[in-house]
Symmetry: C2
């Protein structure tokens, strides 16, 4: 057991890359990841799991084929499994993701390179 709490702002200060999730904690077989996003990501879905977005700083959108959800700091959204989505942010936005261990950030998207998985910060 760690001797101190996980400070999210401190962890965010330790990396700069966009679209490259860093694991900060595990609960059972789930991981909590921090990611900095800017610009638009690739359309993708995760066939086997829901995915949680919690915005820590800034603002972003989750585009779906039939709607766009706006999220600001202090807001969260659950992307249902199998549903195509595209995260985007006009300016840098810091997000916490919650999903099972082993989920890659590009899901089922073809022809794109996923970020390395299971990288801790």
């Amino acid at each position: 057991m760690p001797d101190s709490a996980i400070n999210l702002r401190d962890k965010l200060g330790r990396f700069a890359e966009h679209w490259s999730p860093r694991v900060v904690a595990e609960m059972n077989d789930y991981q909590f990841k921090l990611v900095k996003i800017q610009g638009g990501f690739v359309w993708h879905s995760h066939a086997e799991t829901d995915e949680v977005f919690i915005v820590l700083d800034g603002a972003m959108t989750l585009e779906f084929r039939d709607r766009t959800i706006a999220l600001a700091a202090g807001e969260m959204y659950v992307v249902p499994k199998g549903v195509e989505h595209r995260p985007a942010a006009a300016r840098e936005c810091c997000v916490m993701l919650v999903e099972p261990r082993g989920v890659v950030n590009t899901g089922d998207a073809a022809g794109v390179v996923a970020a390395p998985n299971d990288v801790w910060v």
Copy 2:
């Protein structure tokens, strides 16, 4: 799928009771719950699951038999399954819990009344 994001501050404004978790979202078979705590809770453990504490506002401690972890807003901690713990807060503290659906807040503690489970806000 909801038409808008879940705003945590808005949800916190909708209840006042202490030690009475409210579900705000589900991801697979896990729930995200908000809880307001003040004072000291009962010693307990959860034999079957880890439990995540994310402090949204204020400060709290997680007492274990061999150490005490301090958490402030923007910090999180994962209580391993089976480990006795006692949450406490000198002043009101707002926390997000993440744990499997069905977990009761008093765990294995005997002789205490658990808060109603699976109450949404």
